[in-house]
Amino acid sequence: MIAKIGIAAALLWATAASAETRLTVFISSQQRPDVMRHAFDKFELANPGIKIAIQSGGTTSELQAAYLNTVMSAKDPTLDIFLLDIVRPAQFAAAQWTVPLNDQVGDVATLLKSYLPAYADADTVDGKLVALPAFADTMFLYYRKDLLAKYNREVPKTWTELAATARIIQQGENNPDLQGVSFQAAAIEGTVCTFLLPYWSAGKNLVSDGKLTWDRDAALNSFAMWTGLVKSGVAPRNVAEIATETTRKDFQAGKAAFSVLWSYGWQLFQGADSAVKDKVGVAVLPSTDGGQPVSCIGGWQWGVSAYSAHKEDAIKLVRFMSSTETSKQLAIEGSLMPVFPSLYQDPDVLKAVPWYAYALPVVTAAKSRPVTARYNEVSDIIRTQTNAVLAGSITAGDAATQMEARLRRVLK
């Protein structure tokens, strides 16, 4: 009798254990795990037997990449799905760290067409769908509506106009702590965009079809444009120390007239503790003289780990997370930008985040940083040299020469 009960209990335990699948998701604390949790709860409700645990870590893209690199190169099965910065899918595909999704999503072409083109491109490597878009992001020009009105100035269309307007505001306000514009030149990922914005605006590409298409003049003009802003006092002398969060905090504290920043700033600027609540406008970034307006695209992708023990369920979860339904929820609850163009006109979304009405053209026109499996090296070369030029520890000419030489080694 006792033996029978024992066997029955063991069987019950075994089925219970096998019925419950635990998926571990890696996201950073900056990617709104609270909002993601709501989506996971919905998925758990619809899929009994699957439980989702969040593992969060790494506040910057580089720190997350370093962590994922160690986990994945150790073939560690702990993580089932993870968020990847837009610059990473190519590397993950080359290392075969994600599960290709071509056979898992029905008609691939139709699916990809529903997303913003930049994401469809970033997540397709050599014809393989290696990740699915989670949420979009791009760099914007944030400006102080009140200050522009006070000095009767338009939103600048070029960097030259921006510098002139900023000077007028700085002189008028007579506040030595007021920066004209805050942008990033610390040796961080965002500084790659800093370098590329004027380079792209001049109509040049850094990499085409995996080959370096170096334009020395465009590079020198980019350096000259940024150092010019520092020399004229429009940007602070310590730009080489400034990382993304410094820009966000300074602008939020009312210490800058303009700032170059990702979309996450908006909601924080409207917060109760913000000095610039209701005083902020958002626009497309200025262009170089005679150039075209351009932005740097960011955004995050869901990848399924090649070492996951529950690939089928993980794929199901990733599909759910990159659906219109979830994208809409993330936009409304966390103001994480939708990856579907259609949602930028959705009344519910616009009610929560009114400025998305103007965001679609900016996101659509934004350009991608070089797509290559060796992106981490490309990024390091660009940000290190840009940081050194803006610190004033190397001349723009030397930096351009070193940058080209090192990029040629990587992009053979």
Binding site: N238, N387, G392
Partner: protein
């Protein structure tokens, strides 16, 4: 009839082998095997971003290293850190040890003050120091503001960044040196000083003729430890300057970490690590010879 010994009653030589075996096994596992693997990997082209299997390339990686400007910058920075921070922390550490060895009535506050920098994790120290030297909000500039008009932007200049990094390393490392030297100081018998005093030696003379010679073994030990850790400098510049501006404060250890963990180039990363291993070995050998000829 030859004596056959059972395994229960081995000769002394056999017993010694058996007793030493676990230690050798352990050493083999944690030293010989990894170093061997490192040497093997260093002659392969193996990058996880290429999607290709490992390929034997002979000494190509080493040729690439000699041609790599970042390697030379990192090597130069590392040697600079050794040359500046080893003597720096030895001097500061000696001074601290002498202070701590003074006949205070209550000794523990001094000892505790000595221990704190040593007990702090390196990454904490680097992060704290980054804020200390930050141009806008840092304590250092706040103090300097009273003596000069313009604020110094430490991390804008390669030289100033390197100075800030070295100062931080000296601060952090001198307490470790002081602890070793303090232990050495306490083994010097008081009679030696009494005898010196009887011979008419002043305090300075006592320091030169009694303290320093008797402290020599401790100084050598502290120097060896300090030099090896200085060669491996990673945490403080990594958290303080991230190697910037440009690569002005990138050390060899940071470059190895970046190549393997960030760039996933295991082959070239191993090559760089072999270079660092050779340099560390060379320094150790010089020191060990020094000890042998002096004892």
């Amino acid at each position: 009839m030859p004596v056959t010994r059972s395994w229960r009653d081995p000769t002394e030589a056999t017993l010694a082998k058996w007793l030493l075996a676990p230690a050798f096994l352990l050493l083999g596992l944690i030293v010989v095997y990894p170093v061997g693997r490192l040497l093997v990997t260093s002659v392969y082209e193996l990058s996880l971003t290429s999607g290709l299997p490992a390929k034997f390339v002979g000494l190509d990686n080493f040729a690439m290293m000699l041609d790599d400007p970042v390697f030379w910058t990192a090597l130069w920075n590392t040697l600079l850190i050794v040359v500046v921070t080893v003597p720096g922390s030895m001097l500061a550490g000696l001074a601290l040890a002498l202070v701590a060895n003074m006949p205070f009535r209550i000794r523990w506050p001094v000892r505790l003050a000595l221990l704190i920098p040593w007990a702090l994790p390196l990454a904490f120290v680097g992060t704290i120091a980054a804020w200390f030297f930050q141009s806008e909000y840092g304590v250092v500039n706040d103090v300097l503001r009273h003596v000069r008009d313009h604020k110094i932007i430490w991390f804008n200049s390669g030289t100033l960044s390197m100075m800030a990094v070295c100062l931080t390393i000296i601060w952090k490392a001198s307490s470790f040196v002081a602890l070793i030297l303090l232990a050495g100081l306490q083994t010097i018998p008081a009679e030696m000083y009494e005898a010196a005093e009887m011979d008419g030696a002043g305090r300075l003379r006592q320091f030169w003729s009694v303290t320093l010679p008797l402290l020599r073994p401790s100084i050598v030990v502290a120097m060896i430890f300090r030099t090896i850790t200085a060669l491996q400098t990673f945490d403080i510049p990594a958290t303080m300057t991230r190697g910037g501006p440009g690569n002005a404060t990138t050390t060899l250890a940071m470059y190895i970490h970046q190549t393997t963990v960030d760039f996933l180039d295991l082959g070239y990363g191993s090559t760089l690590a072999v270079a660092m291993f050779v340099i560390s070995m060379a320094v150790s050998v010089v020191y060990l010879k020094q000890i042998r000829t002096n004892t």
